[in-house]
Structures are given as C-alpha cells and as structure tokens.
Symmetry: C3
C-alpha cells in the first residue's frame, strides 16, 4: 500500500505507437484479468467454508456447534497446507509441484490457490455427516489424508489428465470429482462411525431437528453465492469473448439449477408432508447446484432448470431412503452431494451431449473409490486411535466434551457461568 | 476445470504485430472485463438476499424465522425462473427475450442475470413487511406475479425505454424502479393483510421488538455490501476511463449516503428517545442507501452525505407516522424503501441536475402504481385462497403452523424434542 | 441501469487499425481493470466490518450485542465521513485532499475509498477490547479522533511518505500501520477504562466466556475472506504481469499464514489445556493473518507458514500474559492485532529481506505512539464526559442501559415482552 507502481501504465502509454509492444500489452492485460478473475472466484468459493459451517451448525444440536466450527476451520487450514505440500503434485503431476510452478494464463500461485479451495470443499462435505459423535482427532487425520491423498489421487483421473480424461469423461466443475467424492466419503465415515445415539430405536426414526434454522438458512445462501465462483471460476480463463460468454452462461445455468432444485424440494415436501419443509428446501438448493456442476457450460436454460429440479426430487428421496436404511446423516450431505453428484454427472450425458456410458462409468468410479478409501481410512482409525466419543460425551455434547466450552451461554448463566471455556 | 484454454492468449501473442487483429483483441478484452465485472456486481447484489432474510428474521419473533427464510429463498428461486420466462421480455421488449438474446457489451446471459437479481430485490422488500401473519402460499403467488409482471411492467416505463424514459426521468439504479416499487407494494400488502394481532390496542402501539439483534445487524451489513454491486453495477459498462471514473464515484457516493443515513438516524433517535436506537440506525443505513440509489453518479460528495442524512431523518419520521396510522410494518420496509425511495428520486432533481417535476411525476407514478397493483393482487388473494393465517396459527407462529418445524430448539428440548420438523 | 453505453466499445472497434489510438485503448483498459480490482478489494475489506462485529458480539455476553453492533456501525459511518473530511489529507498531504484529487492508476475516489476502509479497520479493532463497560458516547468521540487524526497522522509516517518511509521501513498492508496501531490503541483504552466487573477477584481470573460461538466463528471466516482484499488490494495495481504475479503470491501467502496461525494455536491449546480451544483457534487465524500483513509479497511459501505459526503461538502467550497482568481484553484484540502486528512487521526483516533494525524501530514507534495517543485521549474523556458506565448499568448490560433494548428475546417473553426496544 505504498506508492502505486505507475511504471507499467506509463510504459503502456509510451509504447502506444508500437504495434509489437502493443501486442505484448494486450497479452499482459489478458494475463492480469485472468489472474484477478480466478482469485476473485477462489474467494467466492471460500464463502462456502462459513456456508458449510453454518449449515452444519444449524442442523445439529446446540451442544455441538463449537466442534462443527473447529472441524471446518481445521479442514480449511489443513487443505491450505497439505494440498500444497503433497496433494497438488499428486493431482497434477510432479512437474507441477508448486515451487516454481507456473501456469499458462496466470501465476502458478493463483492456479494452486483456486484448486486448493476445491480440495477443502471435498473434505468439508464429510464433516457434517459424521457430526455429533466422531472424535475431533480422528476427523483431523481424515482431513489430512483426504486433502493430501484421496481427493488429489481421484482428481488426477480427470483433471490431472488420467484415465477418465482419456475416456472423454466430462465434469466441468466437479459434480463427481468434488461432490460425489465428498458425499461418498461421507457415507464411508457414517457407516464406520454409526448413527447418533437414539436416532433409530426399534423400527422408528427419531427426529433430531437442528437447533438454529437462521444459521442454516444463512449458510445455504453463502453456499449459493460461493457456487458462482466454484462453477464460474472453473472456466479457468476469462479474457476472451468465448470465455466471457461461457462464464455468463455458467453463472446463469448455475442459478437456474439452484432455483429449480429449491422449488422442486419445496413443492415435493409440501405435497408429501402437507407443509413446505425448510431443511428439504435448503438441501434442494444444494442438490440443484450439485446437479449442474458437471455441465453448467453445456446444460442450458430450460435443461438446467430440469436438471436442477430432478436434483431436488432426488435429494428428497435419498434423504428418506438413507433414514430407512438407518444411515444417519444429520445434514443430508450424502444425498445432496453424493446422490445429486451422480445425477449431475449423468445429466451432462442426458442434456449436454457427453457420452452417457462414460459419464456413468466415471461417476460410479469416483463414488465407489471415494467410499472405499474413506471407509478403509475410518475403519483403520477405529481400530487404532478410536473413532467415536463415548456415550456420555455424546450426550453431553462435543463442545464441552472435546473442546471444554459451551457454544452458547444464556443471560442467566453469564452472571455465574458453570461452563468455563478454557482459554477465555 | 480441465486444462486451461490457452489458445486465445497464444493467439493474442501471435497476433501482436498485427494492428487490426490487435484492435479486435482490445475490444475482446473490454468485452471480457465488462462481462466479469457485471457478473461480480450481480453476485454482490445476491448478498442482499441473505441480508434481507437476516434483517427480517432478527426483527421478527423467534417463532417466524423459518417462514421468513422460506419466503426469501422462494422469492429468489421464483425470480430466477419467472423473470426469465416472462418478466424480462415485458420489461425490455419481446425482441430481447432471453433465448438468443445478445447484449452489446457482454453476453445476454450476463445482462439478464444482473437484471434478474433486481427483480428479486423488488419482491423481497415486501416479504418482511407482511411478516408474521400472511399465508405462505398467498405470498408465493404474489412473488410470482411481482417478478413476472408487476415489476417488469413498471420497469419498462424507464429502463425499458417507456414513457418515463421519454420524459427524461432519471433513476440510475432504482430508488423508484426497485425500492419505491418494493416499498409501496409492501404498503399494499400490509393494508390488505392488516396489523399483527395485539399490535394496536386501543389508542396505543404495543412494542413487538425483534428477537435477535445480531441477525439484524449482520443482515444490514450484507445489504450495505450488496449495494455496491447494486449501484456500481448499474453503470453497466466498466472498461473505459469514463466508466471507471463513474463507478468509483458511485461506490464512494453510495458509501457516503449510507454513512450519513446511519449517523442521522442514530443521532435523531438519541435526541428523541435519549438513547441511540439500534433498529432505527439499521433503517437509517438502508434509507441512506435508497436515497442515493437514483443518482449515485451525479449526487457527489457533500451532497451525497446530505441526501443520505435526509433519508435517515425521513425513515425515522415515516416509521413513527405509520405506527400512528396503525399501519404495521415489522421491519420498516415501507419507510426505508418506499419513503426513502421517493426522496432519493427527487434528490436527483435537487442535487443532481435532473428535472424536479419529472422526478416527482415519475416517483409518484411508480409508488402509486406499485401500491395499486399490489393491493389489488393481495385483495384478490384475500377473496380467493385467503391471505391471513388464523389467529391461533399467528399466536403459535408461522414456523410451526406453516412449516411444521421450530426455528430454534434449546438444549433441553433437544434431548426430547416436542417440536418435530417434518423431513428431518 | 439505463441503456448500456456502447460508444466506448464501438470506438475501440473503429480505432482498431490505428496503432496510436490502440495504445490509448490498452492504457484505458488497464485503468479500468485497476479501478475495478481496487474497488472489489475494498468491498472485500468491508466484509471485515461484520466480521469484527460478529466476533466481538459472540465473545461478549448476550447483554452487550446491540452495543457492539452499534459501535461497529458507527465506526464505519464515522470513518466514511471523517477520513474524507479530515484524515485523508493528514495522511497523504494536503495536495491529495479528496476534492478533485486524482490518483495515477485509477480515479481518486477509488483510491480514497480503499484507504478509508483501512482507517475504519484500525478504529474498529478497539471496539471489542473495551467492550462491556465503556460509554457509547465516549467511544464515538474516540472513533472520530482515531479516523480523523490519530490513524492518519501515524499512517503518514510510512504510507504518506514520512520519516519511516525515508528510513526504508516496510509494511505492505499494515501489520504496524493498521493492526499494531489498532491493537495498541486498544491497550490504551483498556488501561483507561479498567477491567470488567468481577473479572479479576483476588489473585484469580474469572472466566467470562462469550455467549454465542457460531457468531464468533462466522465472524472470523468473514475476516479471513476480507483479508484477501486487505492484503491483495494493497498491491494497488493489478494490470501488469508483475502485478498479477505479486497479487497471486499475496493471496497465497496470506492464506498460508492464516492456516498456520490457526493450526499453531489449535495444537498449542490442545497441548496446554488437553483440549483444542475454539477462541484460541479463532485468534490464531487472526494472528496468522496479521503476521503476514507486513510482507505478504516477500515472505513466501514455507516462510509464510512459519511466520503465521509463530503468530499463532504469540497470540496464545500474549492472551495469557495480559490476563496475568489483569489487562482485560474480552476478545483478544490487543494480542491478535498488537502483539502479532509487531511480530509481523519484524518478520519482514527475518524472512523477507527488510532491515530488521528499521522494522523494529518502525513497529515500536507505531505501537508506542498509538498507545500514547489513545491513552491520552481516553483519559481526557474520563476526566470530562466520563468513560465508564456505572456498575449497575454494566451488570444490566449495555444493550438495555445504553440503547434501551434487548439483543435477544426468547419465545416466552415475546408473548409479553418486558423489555421494550425504543423505536420498535
């Protein structure tokens, strides 16, 4: 923030009569615009971090909010370091290792930064599904392995130029690479850790509603906002007319699908329950977004609406089905990211011209591999450091049990707090 | 997110010696910058959606928060589809219908996307004012008609090149077209649905304070942030020196007016109540922003401060007046958007060089037409599907009555929840 | 939002064959990109305003949330006017006074707008540290003097081209100029106003944990997001290849340091308390960010991680030390901004090639001067209008005592509210 560097602009002016220098200037400007746009899109994606944290916190009990925020902060911090130290080179080849790495259209640092926030997203999807009963330390180990190895290895299959890329698989921004991977890794975690205490008693599902709907409502708005960076930024270039047209199309189709997913889940819950349901509507938004993420550049207009609406219907059915199977996902992450992620990938075949067979192969490969890797990892953690807090801690809540503090204090207890946060 | 498209940049470099190709490249870059900037501004405007939801939720009781979020989500979803299917062509003429539509400076999709978030804003303004007592289904019908017909039809008068445009009416970003329209549509809704139970008993106004001030406080910060996209993006072009100067001026004047509106309402409430009032300060921010929205490019510096401060004073008086008239607006939307919207439009005549008479005609036309259209629609709904929940539902709260779930659960009730959210 | 201005683009196309005009066009585009990027960065920085408000609100009791939001709104409003009317010319010289002022790379309005949000940040840092016991009016006077005089005068030493600039002092985005200044101004305020009632009884520190951790958790995510604008925007130029590379590096190093600060504080609290602590982790994020703020362009990769981690360790120790000294900072602002600000400034010497001696001189000068100026001002306020609310008001909470309203109402009290907000 010292004196602005005026030299480049002065140079531009001085060189104005020189066509050759001019060409360099135009290419330079394109490089600068591509860089700035990619960084802004990455910052939009980072909005998804508080988005997930708020959604998960709101849909859990008030006794688990600190634990949820701690997991989300830790995931982003871990991704920021582990994906740099290890993951990026696994995903994009050793020659792309970040030190000295240069991309074509913008600095390597910008490219890495954008890819890193995707790795963090894939891992974060898991944190909500296993909420309320997993040990904090066990989750941290998962987050390290997920962002350093699992996500990068799976990502290499397509975005790293691997076998799915060779097959012609198409996943523009990650319906499979990020969301199905995250959603089915969540399934692995949920099966390994088991349902929350008291969730399934006899043949019945006990409702365990979230404690704070405004948090959840804000969270999904932040996800919606962040998704424009997620999908729009995945164009990876911004400075040509064709790129500009593609990005505008991507923004619009992303919004169409989110709106349609919300509308479908809202109306379906209204029909089935006789009341329009809030958490279903929120999951409808996410499912709509995930459903367009593989093809926001090629599934256009009315078809983006249809794809998103189908996502909204699928997430509704998937949430009910998982509960029937006694698979306890407190936030619906397996359904909104996993189920909708498979659908979104196939939708590019149905509506966007990709080869349906290849899309099916690719998304199943991603889903199965993510599930298997995650499940194996969580079971290994279960056999070693332990995966689940004990029953008393779960009833008390992870905030006090794992972090020694309460997420909320009311006015009365403030005058004589019984719960004392360490470090306060 | 596959391999970046390097071809355009390579081409740029190869063409660097060719002056003609060079010219195309510069125009191409300008197109790309205009596109990206407009999309970023649209995303900023979308921050206003959680902004409104949080403000409204915070200023209502805790029993109505799900209903408020559901209305805000539904409004944005509806606008995203209805303004595309119907509204845009009404507002900008059939030749501009979105399919195949191309704008001059950027893709048609970007232009539509930006205009759509404005339509959503106009409708959302209404949701808070009629909060706590209107049937969800009736509101949804309103949101469809508002974003598909009322707002587009009224918008066509000015931004669509209609009679007010021909008269020389000036409303840069929508003090009248969006905010007075939204505010007076809210007045129509409030008169049709009536005040909340117990609000006006005998000659007295019973205070019904909101339940969560941090939500309201966050909401207005998001509105303030979003407004930079709202006003700044309304320049609609970003790649010339003149445009850049205009946009910087717009950002600065927008902030001046918001700051002044906050300060004026804070100080006025301090003087009148002997204590600086929070909800008045929040409405002062909004009123300040609305007051500059018609002329952020032409009301400069000290005059932006004066315009915003007058808005802060007017919103204070307007809120008191409406309560005296037994017009129950729980969030102050009629005053902050309607009253300040009229003032902001006239302010362009007073401080910005526009014809005052035309400004008065235009803003009154917008206010009256929006009120009349909204009132007629809501009265038609009252006569058919019904507008208001029954008294028992209103006392229970719309969250349980309309959506079958509670917005909050405390720690005790979590162990044995009595309120069970459908779909959880 | 009227018809887009197509003339510039048409002109660009028409001029495409003219190399000279071409040169002007490229310079024009660079100017437009620089302007837009700086404005977007400023808007990101504004995300830090709700960030601070939420963090402070969450870490205080529920009886003080309105007061905290009021201070944060007032600070931003005051900065927006006072830094324009007075502060900017003090900081950058009278020739740069905003009227007619033009910067080199973008409009003067954009330059001022960006600098203004920094002034607001410096003042806002203080509001949390003195929370819960200072009179609202006294704080307002401080905010005016801070943004109009203290911050601008101190800022002139470096960014205004003063004696520290002449010495070769290096502070890219303000580890000292903004954060140490804010942190040590906070220390002045805390010493002047004294600790909260009951905080230090006998030789013991009574824990007074915050009432709402989700608010604090969201707040720090917003700070993290805003910091990309804070550090990235401080490059002040965006349209050359060198600038693009610098900005991408800045974004990445900023994130490295935040991640490392979080990780260090999390792990350290885990080791010391046997439980990973949430508020320490949050302060670790902030300390990591402050630690890189002086040199995000020159402290690269692993060294950014090391610098951030040291910041996370220092904030932990600093918070414990201040409590031992009975210096009551409810939010840790003195440690996260002051202590880490000193470290971050020195870190540019250790890891970034700056002269360590000059860095030490500069940061100590900033810290001492900010402390002295703030302490003198607050003591003067104490001797005149009074600094502290009386004990009864402090126990009641500042929301009711100073603003006549409650921050929260529960469902029961809503049916018959005993606390009535003025103006509702």
């Amino acid at each position: 923030m010292r004196s602005p560097k005026v030299i480049p602009t002065l140079l531009l002016t001085l060189m104005s009569g020189l066509a050759v220098a001019q060409g360099e200037s135009v290419a330079e400007l394109a490089y600068a615009l591509d860089t700035f746009a990619l960084l802004m899109c990455a910052v939009l994606v980072i909005h998804m971090k508080p988005g997930f944290a708020l959604l998960e916190a709101g849909l859990h009990g008030s006794k688990n909010v600190i634990n949820i925020f701690m997991k989300n902060y830790a995931t982003f911090a871990i991704a920021g370091i582990a994906f740099w130290a290890v993951g990026f080179s696994i995903m994009y080849g050793s020659s792309l290792f970040i030190s000295g790495y240069e991309a074509d259209l913008y600095p390597g640092a910008a490219d890495f930064f954008f890819q890193m926030v995707f790795a963090a997203t894939a891992a974060t999807i898991v944190s909500g599904a296993i909420g309320g009963r997993m040990k904090f330390g066990a989750y941290l180990v998962f987050a390290v392995v997920m962002t350093a190895v699992i996500y990068p290895f799976l990502g290499s299959w397509h975005w790293g130029g691997g076998w799915l890329e060779a097959l012609g698989f198409y996943d523009f921004a990650g319906s499979s690479v990020v969301h199905a991977v995250g959603g089915f890794a969540a399934l692995g975690g949920v099966l390994a850790v088991g349902p929350r205490l008291g969730r399934y008693i006899g043949g019945r599902v006990k409702a365990m509603p979230g404690h704070n709907m405004p948090l959840a409502g804000l969270g999904v708005f932040l996800l919606w906002i962040g998704w424009f960076g997620f999908n729009g930024g995945s164009q990876l270039a911004f400075s040509s007319v064709a790129d500009a047209q593609a990005i505008a199309t991507v923004f619009l189709n992303t919004n169409f699908a989110a709106a349609a997913g919300a509308a479908a889940a809202l109306l379906l819950s209204w029909g089935v329950y006789r009341k329009p349901d809030f958490s279903m509507t929120l999951n409808g938004v996410i499912a709509g977004l995930v459903s367009i993420t593989a093809g926001p550049d090629v599934i256009n207009g009315i078809w983006a609406i249809v794809a998103g609406a189908i996502g909204g219907v699928l997430v509704f059915g998937s949430i009910l089905l998982l509960d029937r199977l006694k698979i306890d996902d407190p936030v619906g992450a397996i359904s909104a990211h996993g189920t909708a992620g498979i659908w979104g990938t196939i939708a590019v075949g149905v509506f966007g011209g990709a080869n349906i067979g290849v899309q099916v192969i690719g998304t199943l490969a991603y889903s199965l591999a993510a599930f298997a890797g995650s499940y194996a990892l969580f079971m290994a953690l279960k056999a070693t450091i332990g995966l689940r807090v004990d029953a008393k801690e779960e009833v008390t809540g992870l905030d006090v049990a794992e972090h020694g503090a309460a997420g909320y204090l009311n006015a009365d207890s403030l005058n004589d707090p019984v719960l004392v946060g360490a470090g306060d």
